[in-house]
């Protein structure tokens, strides 16, 4: 009698469809995936440890390198968290500018996502069209801060510099023009028979499971759960803006794709409202920490002699520690920062809750039992960037 043996193959770390350096060990029974084991950590740079050894303004550029296709959103997430921790209120104009930037980044991120996702599945034209459109957003970035990829444009307490009329005009033109571009993408793939066969009914995760696994962002909303940090715990100008949270209902790859396409339109509407309502005034709070923020001494309990705390000395004397968890909705999901602060300008603990890390962990759940070709569709649909996953 013939013996049955599973074939185990490596997908990645160097594989064009794994969006970075993700390694999947797949055990196959014919074309069916029996077991899928993701291996991450190839891009681990120790961002949390580095952040704990830098002052708050100095750690800001590190957040660019997390999710490098939407660096602006990471910066904003970090700035919002530190502002809440240090009790700084950004001026209204800065909040609106940051909201515009966050939504431009959402569009840029989803453009990269649709480009690579479609390319993985086999629709190459979308890639070329969408890269053309992303260029415009990168030009807008360049206009405000001179950088295109790792921007570090927001600052703790506001933004680095004000936007000018040229930016406003170009931005208005962009939001007028972009809906036509979305229609172009949809013409290419929305009703395409191959696209439908590769996405409809693939990678199904129920709403209860999706919440249980900790999924966020469009990956969760594709399963019909309308959880969005912008609505649940608003930050910046989102509480003054009217927008909807698109949700899917079939919990599959196609519905998550539809969710992101609808988010394009919502983002455009948010940008338009922000540009129309943009208030005048300063863009940086007066109490914003300078770049060379003095480190200061740890807070001490009354009666404790002030001075440098030596290693081995009881840290307990310098409590209480402030603790704060702050979440923002980045294009991929919920980006959270958890700070423990001891009164100095350096976080005692900086924790980054990266959506990509959580999303990558759900891959075995999505892939096991499906065909090996669907693994590619599943990697694309959860929208991961390994720089953020490995931190």
């Amino acid at each position: 009698m013939l013996k049955k043996k599973e074939l185990s193959i490596n997908m990645g770390p160097q594989h064009p469809a794994t969006h970075g350096v993700l390694r999947l060990v797949l055990e196959l029974d014919g074309e069916t995936v029996v077991k899928c084991t993701p291996h991450v950590g190839y891009l681990h740079r120790g961002t949390e440890k580095l952040g704990e050894n830098r002052t708050y303004p100095m750690a800001l550029p590190l957040t660019d390198r997390l999710d490098y296709v939407s660096s602006m959103s990471n910066n904003i997430g970090y700035c919002v968290a530190v502002e809440r921790l240090l009790g700084i209120e950004a001026p209204a104009r800065a909040k609106y500018i940051r909201t515009i930037m966050a939504e431009l980044t959402r569009i840029a991120n989803h453009i990269v996502w649709i480009a690579t996702h479609a390319l993985d599945i086999g629709a190459m034209t979308v890639f070329l069209y969408s890269m053309r459109d992303r260029e415009w957003i990168l030009d807008l970035y360049e206009m405000v801060c001179g950088a295109r990829l790792t921007v570090t444009y927001p600052r703790i307490g506001g933004v680095r510099c004000d936007i000018d009329q040229e930016f406003m005009d170009s931005c208005y033109k962009f939001i007028e023009d972009f809906p036509k571009r979305i229609e172009e993408y949809e013409t290419l793939i929305d009703q395409n028979r191959i696209w439908l066969q590769r996405t409809v009914g693939v990678g199904i995760i129920s709403a209860a499971d999706a919440i249980n696994w900790g999924l966020t962002g469009p990956t969760l909303r594709g399963s019909g759960v309308a959880y969005d940090v912008r609505k649940a715990a608003p930050y910046d100008a989102y509480d003054q803006i009217d927008f909807e949270v698109p949700v899917g209902k079939n919990c599959d790859v196609y519905d998550r794709y539809r969710c992101r396409m609808d988010e394009f339109r919502q983002s455009i509407s948010i940008i338009k409202q922000c540009l129309d309502k943009l208030p005048d005034g300063l863009v940086l709070a007066s109490e914003a920490p300078p770049y060379d923020m003095p480190i200061g001494k740890p807070r001490v309990m009354p009666g404790h002699p002030m001075g440098e705390i030596l290693p081995g000395e009881l840290v307990e004397e310098k409590v209480p520690f402030d603790e704060l968890y702050s979440a923002t909705e980045v294009p991929k999901g919920e980006l959270g920062f958890y700070f423990v602060n001891d009164g100095t300008a350096r976080p005692y603990r900086m924790r980054i809750r990266a959506p990509s890390f959580v999303h990558a962990s759900v891959l075995p759940k999505l892939c096991e039992g499906s065909l090996v070709a669907d693994v590619i569709a599943n990697i694309g649909t959860i929208d991961i960037v390994l720089g953020e996953c490995d931190r």
Partner: protein
């Protein structure tokens, strides 16, 4: 429910387990005893008025030099249904560096717990697939501990795996196509 009310509810339900309730801004943390962590977490997950169905985050913190327990495992919980949240902290002493895993309650805790072990060396009993995640499997030490050096103390010394890499390169030379 407000975070304060949730904390008081936990305290009334698990009186001897709750060590401390602290507040910062509008966020409340509850420091609990690690022995009954599974019971507390199941209550938070399943009780209909709390219903914390979403484990936002799980991480460790190292308070080196503190008189009582050195580590803390921090759980950030959120209820999508009721839109409220709470932070639970469990103190872990250095000598008994382990805690029960909550993967059975929230599947999403899986990788967070592995990362917490990787970075702090805290073991999670009952975890289905317990190994390092971000660092290589043969890594020594736990990088986010406060006594872990930021820079290498080896000075100019080579990475110990370097020799092995050179040997592999040498060995594979015969397969090179010229």
């Amino acid at each position: 429910m407000t975070p304060r009310a949730i904390a008081e509810l936990i305290q009334s339900k698990f009186k001897p387990e709750v060590a401390e309730i602290t507040e910062f801004g509008d966020q409340v943390s509850v420091l609990v005893n690690k022995t009954r962590i599974l019971e507390i977490m199941s209550f938070l997950r399943n009780s209909s008025e709390l219903y914390f169905d979403y484990l936002t985050d799980l991480c460790g913190v190292d308070y080196q030099g503190r008189k009582n327990e050195r580590f803390e495992v921090v759980y950030h919980l959120r209820s999508i249904l009721h839109n409220h949240c709470i932070r639970i902290k469990a103190a872990i002493p250095e000598k008994d560096c382990k805690i029960d895993s909550v993967v059975r309650i929230w599947a999403g805790a899986n990788w967070h717990e592995r990362e917490c072990f990787d970075m702090y060396g805290i073991s999670f009993t009952g975890h289905p697939d317990f190994r390092r995640i971000l660092m290589p499997d043969d890594w020594e030490g736990h990088p986010l501990r406060k006594d872990y050096p930021l820079k290498s103390d080896l000075g100019e010394a080579e990475w110990k795996g370097f020799k092995e890499v050179l040997e592999t390169v040498e060995r594979n030379k015969k397969y090179e196509v010229r």
